[in-house]
Symmetry: C2
Subunit: 306 residues, 2 copies
């Protein structure tokens, strides 16, 4: 899957992942109205609106991008109905041949991490049969519990040719509270990065490992350092756009081969129609605003890398 | 909810939480057979078996214990159907007036943590109405992202009178890889513990905070140190039983008032019938083995504390 993802990045010339984090406030009135009129102002109504919103954004952008990243929290907030919308989103993205990065940030002790890995990336045994639960292609994973929380994910990735992105340095303002603390002369995130490289050596694709890392665009100087620590690691870079990261911040995350990073934008794409520069599309054509925002993001990144 | 949990601990004289982590291999043949005959060897069949298993264990133990802790990974492995079984388990435990600790180990950047908090503990706004998605009473939370990943949970806890347990020192063998690293003369977990105390001061119940901590029974010496760092923090202690923690390891986690800790056992209770000492109950009466295992655990802890 890491090879497929890199091939799609090359083909689209867009190291971009669209974050499908559909808060209700991003969803245009006409989509909400239709869902509520059919299912009422209920969890199911909200979940249907979320899926319809995602579907239209996927339809408007899938030819331009290699991957989407649904943030499962935005679905879990609607309980079981939300999780159903999450699964429908994963399946619909696959219909359009998109790589799906499940932003689930799971992580637990061994047998429990195994269950998460099986549920989100692998197949579970039920009697004499096996089934994929959520069937994403990549998942994000939290490293706080150490190797035995990560190893079961790596094992499933090797068996299923899927991948993970491990949180190294997150994009949020207080990420430094623990991640930046100095241990033996180096920040914690660099110790985590060293482990990511080590875990990944055992699970290599053609040029990059199945084991990737998350490093926020909001910390470009750390991106540069971490790029060197993990040369064969694909870095998932959140924080571009709404969180403050800009195109020029991104160069440090890429390798000289032009690969090595994939940049996420969520709000900046899915709620583009709410921004002044895309207001001309109007609520009714929000998906066209999203398409234009993807094109503009691609150009911003391209101009940075050249 | 922290007051209710403590009151129930006092009433049952059992600082015990039963971990509902139902792997299929723990579920007796007759339960599986019935579910498969009705729904086939499918994800729904597995999920029905899981719920029936949980239901019987709850029925056999609810009068002895204050709380249950479903581990959501064990449900997510079965995809949407598993999540439905998770929600039914939460609701059934509530019918029996048990406190439900959702072991979800979520944690993300601000707005995303807010969605998790809303989904698992709070209420989400849909049009003019509000709905509880999963409606647990407590959730476990991962601290790696720092204050702005935690704060939204604390806010929901204050609004809904619910609670969280933040991972401080986990019970698994490689928990030390990052958690034990020394920063300014103290291990990382102690820095996290200091933050837990600080976050919790702002959200106090009668004697303990809404903000609890997770510290593994497998590290009793750390438990003693952390008990002092977080005097008003309820500590959720996993790792008793199957993971190697014993009754005598537990004393350090409690305050002189006999409160301050709640000890989880999962496999040791739910799969008790598979252990030699409870084999006499047989597969058919697995829930009675679980009941006996709860009574024995209660006595083990009582003898430790006296």
């Amino acid at each position: 899957m890491i090879n497929k993802l890199n091939a799609k990045i090359v083909k689209t010339n867009a190291p971009i992942v669209v974050g499908l984090d559909p808060m209700l406030k991003y969803i245009p009135e006409h989509i909400l109205k239709k869902a509520y009129s059919e299912y009422g102002e209920t969890l199911k109504g909200a979940a249907e609106a979320v899926f319809e919103f995602n579907k239209r954004i996927i339809d408007a952008t899938y030819d331009l991008i290699p991957a989407v990243k649904p943030q499962i929290a935005m679905y879990e907030q609607f309980g079981v109905e939300g999780v159903i919308a999450y699964k429908k989103t994963v399946d619909y993205a696959h219909e359009k041949d998109l790589v799906v990065i499940a932003d689930v940030k799971r992580g637990d002790i061994g047998s429990t991490s195994e269950a998460y890995a099986v549920g989100h990336l692998g197949k579970v045994q039920v009697g004499s049969k096996t089934f994929a639960g959520f069937d994403a292609d990549f998942a994000t994973v939290n490293p706080y519990l150490g190797t035995d929380g990560i190893k079961p994910f790596v094992d499933v990735c090797k068996a299923e040719k899927k991948g993970i992105f491990i949180l190294v340095k997150t994009s949020n303002p207080s990420s430094g509270e623990f991640q930046d603390r100095i241990i033996d002369g180096k920040p914690l995130y660099e110790h985590v990065a060293n482990k990511v490289r080590e875990w990944g050596e055992d699970a290599m694709g053609d040029a990059y490992s199945y084991v990737g890392a998350v490093v926020g665009a909001t910390y470009p100087e750390m991106g540069a350092a971490l790029r060197k620590v993990m040369p064969k690691t694909l870095i998932l870079v959140p924080g571009y756009g709404a969180q403050g990261g800009t195109g020029k911040d991104l160069k440090a995350f890429f390798n000289p081969d032009g690969l090595g990073a994939i940049v996420n934008s969520s709000r900046g794409i899915i709620a583009a129609y709410k921004k002044e520069e895309y207001a001309k599309f109007g609520d009714e054509h929000f998906e066209e605003a999203s398409r234009q925002a993807v094109i503009d993001m691609r150009e911003d990144i391209k101009s940075t890398l050249n």
